[in-house]
C-alpha cells in the first residue's frame, strides 16, 4: 500500500520528496494546496472519499500516515 501511495504521489508531485521528513506539513514541505491535490489524486486512484475531519496535518505528515489514512477508508 505504502509503495503504491508513494508512486502516485511522486508521479503527481515530482518536486516533493515524500521520504524527506516525518513532518511534511509542519516543516512546510507540503502546503494546503498540495494536500488538496494529494487527496484528489489518491481519491481517484483508490476510489475513497475522505471525511473532512480526517484532513488534519497529522494525517499528512508522513508517507506512512497518508497510506494508513487511505487504507482506513478503502
Amino acid at each position: 500500500m505504502r509503495e503504491r501511495v508513494k508512486e502516485i504521489l511522486e508521479e503527481n508531485f515530482p518536486d516533493i520528496d515524500f521520504e524527506s521528513s516525518d513532518e511534511l506539513v509542519d516543516d512546510g514541505i507540503i502546503d494546503s494546496l498540495s494536500i488538496v491535490g494529494m487527496i484528489s489524486a489518491l481519491s481517484d486512484e483508490f476510489d475513497v472519499s475522505l471525511p473532512y475531519e480526517e484532513i488534519v496535518p497529522e494525517n499528512f505528515n508522513s508517507l506512512d500516515s497518508i497510506a494508513e489514512l487511505i487504507e482506513k477508508y478503502m
Partner: protein, 531 residues
Amino acid sequence: MIGMSYISFSFLLFLAVLMTLYLLMPSVRLRQIILLAGNLVFYICAGGRSLLAILIATTFIVYAASRLMGRVYEGFESETAAKELKPKEKSQLLASYRKRAKAVLIPSLVIVLGILVYGKAGKLIGFPETSDFSSLAGAGFRAVMVPLGISYYTFSAVGYLLDIYWRKTKAEKNPLLLLLSMTYFPVIIQGPISRYDRLMKQFGELPGFSYERVTFGLQRAVFGFFKKLVLADRISAFPAAVFGNIQEHSGLLVVLAVCANAVHLYMDFSGCMDIVIGISEALGVTLDENFSQPFFSKSAAEFWRRWHITLGSWFKDYVYMPIATSKFMMNRTSAIRKSGKKRLASFTAAAVPLIVVWILTGLWHGTGADYLLWGVYWGVLIILETAFAPEWKKLAAYLHTEPDRPLPGFLRMVRTFVYFCFGRMITALGCAGSALIILRRIFSGSGAREFIDGSVFTYGVDAKDFAVIAAGLFICFLVSIWQTKMHIRERIAKMALPVRWAVYLAGIMAVVIFGVYGPGYSASSFVYGAF
C-alpha cells in the same frame, strides 16, 4: 469611561486594578471569576453596554449547540465501543450520527452568522446603526444593531461549532470557560481571531503570578504602545492630509502618502496585537500570533500567511479546505482530469475555493464595492501565483535566475510591498474608483516641488515628526530582523541589571515623550476595531 480603548488612560487604570486583583487570587476559580468580571466591565466601558445581551445570548446558543452535538457524538462513541466495527462500517455509522449533529449545527450557524450578516448587509443598504432594541423596533427594523467585536467573536464561535461538528475538538462542559472565551477583553475588539478550544483549555488552568511572564508580557505591550502611539498615530496625519485633497497633489508626494498609508496600517494593527498579546501573556493566556514580519514576504500568498495570520488561517480551515476537499469539487476536478486536461483540473481545484475565500475576505473587511474589488484583487494575485506556479518556475529557469538568492529575493519583497500598497489604494478613498483616482494623480506630475521647497512638512507631519518616524521605523526594522534570529526579550533579560533597566526605561520614556496624544489623552482609535 465610555468608549474605553486599549490606548486610553481609563484602560491603563482598568488594567492596573484588574491585574492586581487577578494576580493576588489564590485559586484558578477565583482568577476565572475576576477575569470574567473584568471582561464584562471592559465590554461595557468600551461601548458595548446596550448590546451585551446579544453577546451573552450568542454564547448561550453556542454552548447549547456545542453540548447537543457533543452528546450526539458521545452516542456514536459508545455504540462503536460496544460493537466491533470495520473502519468502513464505522464511517457509515458516523454518517448517520453526523446527520443528527447537522440538525443542530445548521440552525445555530444560521443564528450566529445571521446576526453578523444582518449587520453587514443592513449597513450596505444604508440602514442607520442603533444600540438598543426599542429604537430598532421604533425604526420598523430598518436599522441595524452591531455589537462590539461581532466580526471577531462570530468567526471564533463558528470555528468552534464546526470543529465540534467535524469532531476535531470536544464540546466544553463548563459554560464559564466558553463565556470567558467569548468575552475575553484582549481579543474582543480586534482579535486575534481565537480558537476557543485552545483558549478554554488555558482558562481552565489559569496560572498564578510569575515575574518573568508578567514582565515579558508588559514589555511586549510597551512595544505595541510604541508602534501605535509614536509611529502609527504620527504617520496617519500625512496620508489623511494628502488623500483628503488628492486632486491638489501628484507624483512623488502621492507615492509617499500611499507608502505611509500602508506602513500606518501595519504599525496600527500589529501595535495593537503586541499590546493585547502582551497583556494576555501577563495574565497567563497565550494568544495566536497575528503577524510574522509580513513585509519580508516574497509573494502575495506568503504575505497572507504572515499578515493577519488568524484571519487567513480561519478562512483556510473553515472555507478553503472544506470547499477544496468537498465531494462536489473532487468529482468536478476528477472529471476534468479524466478528460485529459490535467492542468485545467489542478487550476480549477486551486482557483475556485480561492476566489470564494477572497470575496468573503473582502466582505469581512467592508461591504462596499471597494472592499469587494479589494478581495477580488488579492484573490486574482494569489491564483496567478499558485495556480501558475509551474509556469513561473519555467520562466525563472529560462531567465537563469534563482528566485531565492539575496537580490531577486529582495526584489520580490519590494514587489510584495507594491502589491500591498496597491491593495490599500483600492480602499483608501472609500469609493469604487479609488485606485484609479490615485494612480491618475501619481502620473499627473512629478510632485517634486513639495520636497524641494519643504512644503512636504506641512501635511500634518513636520520635519521633527519625520525624524522621529524614521528613527522609530529603523528600530522596528531592527527588531523584526532580530526576531527572525533570537528571542529578544530573553536576551535582554540576561543582560546586566543597569543595561536591562536602561532598555526598559528607554522604551517607556519613548512612548511617554514621543507618543501622539490627543486632548485629554484619547489617542485615535485602531483601524481594525471597526470591522
